[in-house]
Symmetry: C2
Subunit: 178 residues, 2 copies
């Protein structure tokens, strides 16, 4: 069965962005030639699931080629119907149904690229199989939390942890299913 | 100058307790003969600051000898005046004033043993110099957060990270003052 993974950076106090989608805190760990395993991770992925706001943010900040480059299936979770673009589908149906259908298909792994709302929905339905969390050495004090209140308890298994010279610590877990 | 430290366990999703002060999730990392550095840490400490609710919780669960054993100064932060017991003082004044006074005195390090309200007040006043956070491999989904919203941004410096066989990862930071 294909796995659905998170690969995400948070501040030590658990925020993935400061208010107003400010991601500038990520700059404190930027180092020439160091991608913290991102390229190796995405090389195992052929399907991306993400929220509409995150999709539009990336379109604006990085450009459409980041997702719509023909190499991967992209599912944008949205409430507004919209025709697809290349391998990008705008999905207005039930998230759990989509993920269960995709997991049952053949293919490489799947990656949820955010945002916080989609991640929260996936966690509530216990659909995340693996998470790589990069802890940035800063307390932001406010912002968008990676983990919202009101989810079920879930045991995780630590696969690895690694610290980098920048002070980033990367923790990798798989969902422990008993 | 004496340092004020945290030494605390949180779930991967950032809770130090489940609702109703339920700490049973800590059991998943309990291992014979492994204290995750707690004894070595407290050996460097001669002063403890903690909230009144945490004090009473420990009194009930562990007994009065945990704090009132004559070996360390204990400051219980409370709104209700109460005569001291041995080296335990019930402090109703301003927290910042107390910590700044204690830091300026001679002595070993100081340790804040919780709870979440006192930690939050100390972080808001930028009085925490060092924190050792043990990340327990579980998502609790709900509970008391270690880091509340509404604090100032603070840069931290990673000192060490260490993973244990139980899946606990311990991250140690010092406050980076520029």
């Amino acid at each position: 069965m294909r796995k659905l993974s998170l690969f995400i950076a948070t501040s030590l106090d658990g925020y993935i962005a400061k208010p107003n989608d400010d991601l500038s805190f990520l700059k404190i760990v930027e180092q020439e030639g160091e991608d913290y395993g991102y390229a190796a991770f995405t090389a195992q992925v052929d399907t991306i699931i993400l929220g509409r706001k995150t999709y539009e943010y990336v379109l604006k900040e990085i450009g459409s080629s980041h997702y719509d480059n023909g190499t991967r299936d992209v599912y944008v979770i949205t409430r507004t119907e919209r025709p697809g673009v290349g391998r990008t589908t705008f999905y207005t149906g039930d998230l759990k149904t989509l993920v269960e259908k995709l997991k049952a298909e053949d293919g490489q792994n799947m990656y949820c690229d955010g945002g916080a709302e989609v991640i929260d929905a996936l966690l509530k339905h216990d659909l995340i199989d693996e998470m790589t969390i990069s802890v940035i050495p800063i307390l932001l004090g406010n912002g968008t939390r990676l983990f919202k209140d009101g989810r079920p308890e879930q045991r995780m298994e630590l696969v690895s942890s690694r610290s980098y010279e920048s002070g980033l610590t990367q923790l990798q877990y798989i969902r422990k299913r008993t």
